[in-house]
């Protein structure tokens, strides 16, 4: 990795991050646009959840990780505490791997 490539990645990433906060201060966003932006964030987060739980690179991630996320997700949907559901996901995945499930 060269310093130029790192600075390109860092500068570009910072620009992506700062554009929203910088522009939102200049223009008045309507209530509907604000609502759509918060829905957009939820949509992106859900897509991250599903792709990072099920896939690795361009393929299937194996059963252990999605099984863990599913176990934790069921607990979270039943309003289990955050810590409990995250620990359940991690422990389920680790246990399955220990048992030889990919």
């Amino acid at each position: 990795m060269t310093i130029f490539a790192i600075l390109l990645l860092a500068g570009g990433t910072y620009t992506l991050r700062a554009a929203g906060p910088a522009l939102a201060g200049q223009i008045e966003l309507s209530e509907r646009v604000r609502w759509l932006l918060s829905v957009a964030a939820a949509v992106l987060l859900c897509a991250l959840v599903v792709t990072s739980a099920l896939t690795s690179g361009h393929g299937f991630a194996g059963w252990a990780r999605p099984a863990g996320v599913l176990a934790g997700g069921v607990l979270a949907a039943r309003r289990a505490p955050f810590l409990v559901s995250v620990m359940a996901a991690v422990v389920t995945t680790a246990t399955l791997r220990l048992l030889g499930v990919g």
Partner: protein, 260 residues
């Protein structure tokens, strides 16, 4: 919180009263967060720190000089993009291609920045500094809070802690090198999607959001085998159509979160 940043921004020169004032303000921040939330943030921060250790270790084990992971973790501060760029370089790819792949992965930070813009709408110092703390977890934690004050406090506390521990973890990994094992054996790769899922679940109770998210996730999943990393998640934004259409017809528009 608003007064906290105004006061800090207005007092550039160090005054004797600044320290005690800042201390009182931090207490104010922590009062806005309940203990359960702080514990949740703590857990996420620890899990991310472990991933940071593996990032540092994988980079130096692959033959990169120590400054590469250290500079990346502080200047880029985006786990997914850092790993993607690192693996491309370790696999013999061009550094410029690695940077571009990382940028595509980070494109989602643009809409995330807009989503938390109101949190950072407290003057330029906060905007410039806070923008660097826009990561999946800090955005998800902040948006899960209803009250603007709690949202702001949550964003700053989770973002700052994540930054510190991510860099600390990277440094530990750099110096521990090959001694670090694979965090996947501990099941930690399940923690990141689970954390985001737990944080986004309450928002899914609104039907419009739920349908948009389901449609978006299906699109992202279907596109993953064919597109470079990061683009499938961006394509999920097409799912917004599911939320926008009923909205335009004027039915079932949920009340926006209270903003003052």
């Amino acid at each position: 919180m608003r007064s906290f940043w105004r006061t800090l921004a207005g007092r550039r020169r160090v005054s004797p009263r600044l320290a005690s004032h800042a201390l009182a303000s931090y207490r104010h921040i922590f009062n806005a967060l309940d203990r359960r939330l702080l514990r949740a943030i703590g857990l996420v921060v620890v899990a991310d720190g472990v991933v940071g250790v593996s990032f540092g270790a994988i980079a130096v084990s692959g033959g990169q000089p120590a400054w590469v992971p250290l500079v990346m973790s502080s200047a880029v501060f985006a786990g997914g993009a850092q790993f993607a760029a690192l693996y491309i370089v370790l696999g013999g790819g061009a550094p410029a291609a690695a940077a571009l792949a990382g940028l595509v992965l980070n494109a989602r930070l643009l809409p995330f920045g807009f989503a938390v813009a109101d949190v950072l709408d407290v003057g330029w110092p906060a905007r410039l500094l806070g923008s660097h703390l826009v990561v999946d977890e800090s955005v998800a934690f902040a948006l899960a809070q209803r009250e603007p004050a709690a949202r702001r406090a949550t964003f700053w506390v989770s973002g700052a802690l994540l930054f510190v521990v991510w860099n600390l973890g990277t440094a530990i990994g750099v110096f521990a090198g090959k001694a670090v094992g694979n965090p996947d054996a501990l099941g930690l790769d399940a923690a990141s999607p689970m954390v985001l899922l737990a944080l986004v679940l309450p928002a899914l109770r609104e039907p419009a959001v739920r349908w948009a998210a389901l449609l978006g996730a299906a699109i992202a999943l279907a596109a993953t085998p064919f597109l470079p990393g990061g683009l499938p998640v961006l394509l999920a934004l097409a799912g917004l159509a599911a939320a926008a259409v009923p909205c335009a017809r004027g039915r079932s528009r949920p009340a926006p979160r209270s903003r003052t």
